[in-house]
Amino acid sequence: MAHPWMTSGIVTTVSTHGLHLLLWLTLAWLILGVFALIRIHSLPFAARLFPLGAIVCLSIALMASIMLITGSLPQVAILPLGLPNLPFHARLDTLSAFFLLLLGVSGAGISIFAGGYFRHSHGTAPGLLCLQYHIFLASMALVTLADDAYFFMVAWETMALSSYFLVTAQHRFAEVRRAGFLYLLMAHLGAICILLSFGVLQGGRWQFTFEAMRSAALSPAWASAAFLLALVGFGTKAGLVPMHVWLPEAHPAAPSPVSAMMSGLMLSTAVYGMLRIAFNLLHIRYWWWGVLILALGLFSALYGAVFAAVQTDMKRLLAYSSIENIGVIFTGIGLTILFDASHLPLFASLALSAALIHALNHSIFKSLLFLTTGSVLHATNQRSLGKLGGLIRSMPWVATLALVGTLAIAGLPPLNGFVSEWLLLQSFLYTPLIPHAFLNMLIPLGAAVLALTAALAAYVMVKFYGVIFLGQHREPSLEHAHDADWLERIGLTWLALGCLTIGVLPQLVLRAAGAVTGTLLGQTVNLGSLFGLLAPISPKQASYSGLVLLAGIFVVVGITFIVVRALAHGRIQRTAPWDCGYPWQTSRMQDTAEGFGQPIRHIFGTFFGMERELPSPDDSAPQYRIRIEDRIWGTLYQPITRNVQRLADWIGLLQGGRLPIYLLYSFLTLIALLVFVL
């Protein structure tokens, strides 16, 4: 396509050598990390490196966007590394470029923030932390660039490993260790499934480059097997229910920038992997795959939202909300497969754009929110919602930026969260065109579930923001909570601006997503003009303009304000809040997080394993305690461990300690083999 930018030389060189440049940038991260080892114990030294990493992030984002717009894709390269008969293949196409863009944009904000975040570090030495951090970034970039199974697996597991070490940075706490163990174990099992999936994909020709897999023609059974394995593998990493158990443990355990990266970036790489296999490596898609993913996605979304609503730890709450958003993304993928399988490419690309944009949005606002929790954590040393409150007065910066994130993740116009959900609902509207009697009656209910989830998300975020930043301080110490320092503010502001920009000018990202859908599905939705309406199918069908909404609200509010001031007056008297005739109220008497979750517990009681401790009426120091548990843990995972234990006990009997018995074993083996050969 002839683009004005093409004239400028840099852009052309970038777009022709994009892949190599990207690989070098990835290497730059690694070098930065190794460099940090020089003064491994000096915190300021490491802290100075993070912004440099952010610069690399920015350049990667920039290049990725250039590639998406003008790049001559795909580009391939073969690295002088890897196995002798299977060197590392790298490939840059629109899909990987899109996810690199995502990585760069959010990564930049997180890295800048990290520069200010890591302060008095206990646990892993700062230099080592810096190394692990940048290895994590680099491995995620390589995952999107890998073009053969081995390279992919290496990058993938390196990602898991580095993030594991980051999660266990404060390994002195037992629960952190437990979380880390659970995380790495699940990650590894997932990786085994992915490996198996590749094993199936190569279709018996023992070619492990993705190129070969693309051209492999699998029988329906094998294709489905590969797809299911991939679903389990990537679903585990993405935190799809019921493979999600590690997520609410691991994300809170990590330092906040790491939680942000895991939630915002790493989960997206899982989405990338799913798309890569489903739409690029597999040559065909069957409609029931779509139904399966759709069901899983919707269930995860609802499950995540409901559990997030009853959390009392702010980072756990965000972790569950990640499960919800991943569910939404996979819902989009499911719809895409459904449309694609029933040969409706336009709507398929609509759903896929929705999924991609939501992945991008999620990475931005979830990073933003996790980082704000980081600032709050630093300012108050509190993670429990029950001990926070009123921070909007002591930390206005964080509070304001967090508000942006809150509104965005709650899916409210005119911010970015709404755009993707709107697109997704739009694509739901066209499901009646799918030629399956039952499906087009059932799937609308899916839309209803999605709407319910979105509204629940709003509920959750109101709780999150209201309890942390609004109201009165639940602890006296919060009076002196200090606001974020300047690096942190820059990082947060960057991400908040991201939320706003995408919300107001969704066409920007719609173009990026369009490039992807163009390559994967051979069709793009109606992109519209950059500042015009967002009307993916046609303005007649449905249209939306965040810009108008934002501007409109501002104008009306402005006018109203002026008018009110002109006609009436601005006089104000400060008084105490209405105490309902009970003047001895303390700040502890505010509504608590548990209280806010109560309607959810009441309505969705069947989801949880709950145990309550109600105080007795004549209790001098009454205590109300409630524990919410994940049912899936007890029903699915404990039995597995129990059986392994039992099996291990049986096999353990072989090592009974009696020499004659051992001799008997070898004797019997000998006899058996002799009989065998005779």
């Binding site: 009974g656 300690g657 004659p660």
Partner: protein, 221 residues
């Protein structure tokens, strides 16, 4: 000269006696008896080796016969005797699991061994080829003996008996291995045996008995 048949007959007789001795070892309780039996095994081996050597006039077989005489008839039994005197266990007897049953199993093993030896002896060119089965049987019986025994020393004797079986197999199947190997094997055997000798005392001072039932602490509890 004597007729080859006669020599073959004698050889077969010796082989049979070897088998007999193995069965006897399987059923003996007294350590001392076992040692004597082991020595007898050595004697039989020596005789058979000499005969084979004479029949196929191979000088190196005489060497290995001499080696056998030195090692298995004189040295080892003597050392064993000294050992059990030093350890003062010459008179102690050990419980055996149900001798008739063991005998029956042994019988089964012998049949199995003969069956196994068919293809081998069919292709062997030696005059003693049909005794390979017996050699194999001796090995199996020694194995069985090791399994059924509870005392360290008796197990070692079982081990040595197995070595004898192997040696017999070597001579009977192939007129013995090349001399280098023979020497190597003998050397290993000797060293191993000395190590065992040292072991016995260490085990004694640690466990104050040579009963294997004390040595069952390393296991999956």
């Amino acid at each position: 000269m004597h007729s080859p048949y006669m020599i073959t007959g004698v050889l077969n007789l010796l082989a049979a006696s070897l088998l007999l001795i193995s069965f006897a070892m399987l059923s003996r309780r007294r350590t001392q008896r076992l040692i004597t039996l082991f020595a007898w095994q050595g004697v039989v081996l020596f005789a058979s080796t000499c005969l084979v050597g004479y029949r196929a006039d191979l000088t190196e077989l005489y060497y290995s016969a001499a080696l056998t005489l030195l090692l298995k008839v004189i040295a080892l039994p003597w050392i064993l005797h000294r050992l059990i005197h030093r350890l003062g266990v010459q008179w102690d007897s050990e419980p055996l699991v149900n001798i008739p049953a063991t005998m029956l199993v042994g019988l089964g093993l012998v049949i199995f061994a003969f069956g196994l030896a068919q293809p081998i002896s069919r292709m062997a060119t030696t005059i003693t080829r049909n005794t390979i089965g017996i050699a194999l049987a001796v090995i199996f019986l020694a194995f069985l003996m090791m399994i059924t025994r509870r005392r360290a020393i008796t197990q070692v004797i079982g081990f040595l008996a197995m070595e004898n079986g192997l040696f017999f197999a070597a001579t009977s199947a192939t007129y013995g291995m090349p001399m280098v190997i023979e020497l190597g094997i003998a050397l290993d055997l000797l060293i191993g045996f000395f190590i065992l000798g040292i072991f016995f005392f260490q085990i004694r001072e640690q466990f104050d008995s040579l009963d294997l039932s004390n040595m069952e602490s390393l296991k999956e509890e």
